[in-house]
Amino acid sequence: MPTKSIDFQGLLAELIDAEVDFIVVGGVAAGFHGLIIATGDLDLVYSRDSQNLERLERVLLRIDGCYRMKPEVKPLASRFDGPGHHNLSTRYGKLDLLGSIVGGEGYKELIDRTEVVPLSAGRAVRVLDLPSLIRVKEQLTDEKDKYHLTLLKRLLVERMPK
């Protein structure tokens, strides 16, 4: 069966239009900052505020959201109130929802370390800033993460004013 193509822009637009509060982290955040490396999923840290979880549930059900390993399990708001990770599929591609990232930091702790990035049609998205992305990567130990850390550090140097 062919692998479904991904549509990060479509997925972000759905979440923004549904007024879900979230921060883009991971490979897509790195891409926004200028490190274009293939990434198979969109990683988001979401606000665990109860109203936000309701909005998140509504949009996920509308875009065929389900758990990748257990497609029969619906992504209901009640599942999202902890710090864990939820690996989902949607009609736009894979979506990893993170209640927190390494170090236990969640939406509230990270919000002051984000940049607002404009998208099309007047939309905008919050993205974890580059120094914070680097700090996250520094805590990860797998070889791929170490390689990405080297690239992110180089990106930081390249972005410095000349």
């Binding site: 274009i36 690239l151 180089r154 972005r159």
Partner: protein, 59 residues
Amino acid sequence: MDDDRKNLMPNGIETPVGEDGVDVSLIRWALTLTPLERLQALEDLTNDLLGLHDAYQKH
């Protein structure tokens, strides 16, 4: 090195590969794009690789 962004070969020609082994040409190109264009490029790259993966699986 006065400027960490420069990495000169012995003949004085600037190489796109920094001391950390990173070829910075892709990063420099990406920094000429808007964030939305970067997202589009990332999406295109990922979908191209998914297409290659599918083609490989068929053989």
